[in-house]
């Protein structure tokens, strides 16, 4: 950078200070080009137009103050080094700034031209170094992920072959076998299933680490998911003479979460709990609300096992953690299950923790956000501080013409909801998260800020767009209807929040009334085939007779 001019963007509103800095820069005799602006907005514009080598930044500007100023600059141009020139000697603020990535914090009155020149030069070098480190880190992460994904794919091919021939023998397709041979083969199959589970966990953990897990929150009942998990895990628990109990607070409202992912978490936790519980013990899966936190439901899995030591508690959610006492006598997996649980819960905006006393069992608890229609509705039905005049509830029903291919149907209705989202105005209409199961007919609701007459236009648009999807057209019947929401005048003293809540309640009632027949038969097909497959393979891993006749 010695023969190239250093381009300095000076963001400083005090003309005297600006002149002083310019003077210092000229004195330093190094080659600099200075652009000076006196407002943050102009600085941001200049950053976009002509990125400088370094930004010299005053914190108190007409349009921004304090820490906000450097945060804005760095959010806009994370790769440009920032040196703060401040009027006040505030060590706390200086440290905070450096922690957040500012390269230096200098006091205006104190600096000599040499110091300023040096600070700028080192800032540029440090920033370049950081950037290349960051690029290398990302490349390595990407390489590692590709490697793992490749390895797990390559491992699957021979594993599939072993699995196929073992099941051919076990199913008697190659002649009958002596009981002892049969037993040995079952042991082989059990190990194959364990290996399969490990490969799957490896890939899932890799995805979690690189942020590639997709979560599709819907409006679902945690109670149904718990029932489902318990039903899936009872056979395994039964073999170990461990009971599974369920405790459901029936006042729990619906939650906003991805049913497949939450089922995965429940199955992982329950499977763990069963492993650590001795015969005659029991596992309790519970969901409840607590008074101190009205926005979340608390889900817990409690065992009567031997508990977790305080040391282990701190590590248990980390990747590859394995209970040292268990490794010798039992193959349990890679130690990725709880790590995956934590990442999945985090993706839902919840948290997970464990409480345990050695010898007394353990309780794993996680939180999930409640489904709040009011929260989702507020941005679209409130306009200029008031509830909109007209609101219409549009109902879009997709009835599958054939109930054969489950995976395909899911694909079809997911495409449909994507299409729906493109048919509405984001600032005044809302496509509600899908409700309930994915196996049968799907009903979607759109809250539209319009009157009944105009909702006809929207319905025509929705129908037109959905019918352009060939697959949808051939696999489902489409029924679209609209009902206005009766907006009775609300008490004058009702707060806006309360008014929104009233409308949300009304809409909820309308939805409940219109889907009543389905909602009476809960539990069907919440989870996709994937998590069911996972549960089945867990069952097979620990099952003593994994032989399924086909």
């Amino acid at each position: 950078m010695s023969d190239q001019a250093t381009r300095v963007l000076l963001i400083e509103d005090n003309p005297g200070d600006a002149d002083l800095v310019r003077l210092r820069l000229v004195e330093s005799k190094s080659l600099v080009e200075v652009t000076c602006v006196d407002r943050l907005a102009d600085g941001i514009a200049s950053l976009g137009l002509n990125p400088p080598s370094v930004v010299l930044l005053d914190l108190n500007l007409p349009d921004s103050h304090g820490a906000e100023t450097f945060r804005t600059v760095m959010a806009h141009s994370p790769d440009v080094p920032v040196v703060i020139l401040s009027g006040q000697d505030d060590e706390g603020l200086a440290l905070k700034a450096v922690h957040q990535g500012v390269q230096d914090y200098l006091i205006k009155g104190d600096i000599t031209s040499k110091q300023l020149e040096r600070a700028m030069r080192y800032a540029v070098e440090r920033q370049a170094l950081l950037r290349s480190l960051e690029i290398t880190r990302k490349q390595q992460l990407e390489f590692k992920n590709q490697f793992l994904s490749h390895v797990s794919h390559e491992l699957r091919t021979p594993l599939t072959c072993i699995h196929q021939y073992v099941t051919i023998l076990l199913d008697g397709l190659a002649g009958s076998m002596a009981p002892e041979q049969n037993d040995h083969l079952k042991t082989v199959l059990k190990s194959v299933n364990q290996l399969h589970a490990m490969i799957r966990d490896l890939l899932e953990a890799t995805r979690a680490e690189s942020g590639k897990i997709r979560v599709e929150p819907r409006c679902i009942s945690i109670g149904e998911l718990i029932q489902q998990a318990a039903t899936m895990m009872r056979p395994i628990a039964g073999e170990r003479q461990v009971g599974i109990e369920i405790g459901l607070d029936n006042r729990i409202p619906l939650i906003h979460a991805d049913p497949d992912r939450i089922l995965e978490v429940l199955i992982n936790l329950t499977d763990n709990a069963i492993k650590f519980t001795s015969p005659e013990g029991s596992v309790m899966i519970k969901a409840c609300m607590i008074e101190a936190d009205e926005d979340a439901v608390y889900v817990s899995v409690t065992d009567t096992g031997r508990g977790i030591s305080p040391d282990a508690k701190a590590l248990i959610f980390e990747r590859l953690y394995q209970d040292p006492e268990l490794i010798d006598n039992n193959r349990t997996g890679l130690g990725l299950g709880l790590y995956i649980c934590r990442e999945l819960v985090k993706l839902h905006g919840g948290k997970i923790w464990v409480a345990s006393e050695p010898g007394q069992g353990s309780t794993f608890t996680f939180t999930l956000p409640l489904y709040s229609l009011a929260k989702l509705l507020a941005p679209v039905i409130v306009h200029e501080g008031r509830i909109r005049e007209h609101i219409v509830l549009v109902k879009v029903e997709l009835v599958p013409l054939s109930k054969t291919l489950h995976s395909n149907w899911r694909e079809v209705w997911q495409q449909a909801i994507e299409t729906l989202r493109h048919c509405v105005y984001l600032d005044k209409d809302l496509v509600l998260p899908p409700m309930g199961g994915s196996a049968a007919a799907q009903t979607f609701f759109v809250v539209a800020s319009t009157d009944l007459e105009h909702s006809g236009i929207m319905m025509a648009r929705i129908r037109g767009q959905l019918e352009r999807n060939e697959e949808l057209k051939t696999s489902a019947k489409l029924v679209i209807s609209a009902v206005p929401v009766d907006l009775a005048p609300q008490p004058a003293d009702a707060s806006l929040d309360k008014q929104v809540q009233t409308v949300a309640n009304q809409i909820t009632e309308m939805i409940m009334a219109s889907v009543a027949p389905e909602s009476a038969s809960p539990g069907n097909g919440h989870a996709s085939s994937n998590s069911i497959r996972k549960a089945q393979s867990i069952q097979k891993e620990s099952s003593k007779c994994p032989n399924r006749k086909s």
Partner: protein, 132 residues
């Protein structure tokens, strides 16, 4: 009624043999192909009732095969069940959009695979009479 005929496409001869055993034991006839090019040729010659298709194949991968099948009128209606070691997250959607009837990752649960094969066959054998 003659036995339904299934075309097994996989480049691993051991797996082809295993699938053949499994499907024949369940009263299906099978024909085979080891690469993408042969798969389309065998499909044209044999007119199978269903195709079990691997994705990672030499001479035209599974997606190429799907695409070719869709573009040959006499083959476009044959249900295709994808059976691959590849990751569903990057391939399932693409395969289903490309015309596959179902997607399975290896190793597959035999009972599940047979269920879907059975369902796909009943669905496609009586065109226009889909059970609702």
């Amino acid at each position: 009624m003659p036995k339904p005929k299934i075309l097994i496409v996989d480049d691993d001869p051991d797996l082809r043999r295993a699938l053949r055993l499994r499907l024949r034991a369940n009263n299906y006839d099978t024909v085979h192909a080891q690469d993408g090019y042969t798969a389309v040729a065998v499909a044209q010659k044999e007119h199978p009732d269903l195709i079990v298709l691997d994705l990672g194949l030499p001479a035209g991968d599974g997606f190429v095969v799907l695409d070719r099948l869709q573009n040959i009128d006499t083959l476009a209606g044959i249900p295709v069940v994808v059976l691959t070691a590849r990751d569903p997250q990057n391939n399932e959607e693409r395969a289903l959009k490309g015309g596959a009837a179902a997607f399975f990752q290896k190793p597959v649960d035999n009972a599940e695979l047979l269920d879907v094969i059975r369902a796909s066959l009943t669905d496609s054998r009586v065109p226009g009479m889909r059970p609702s």
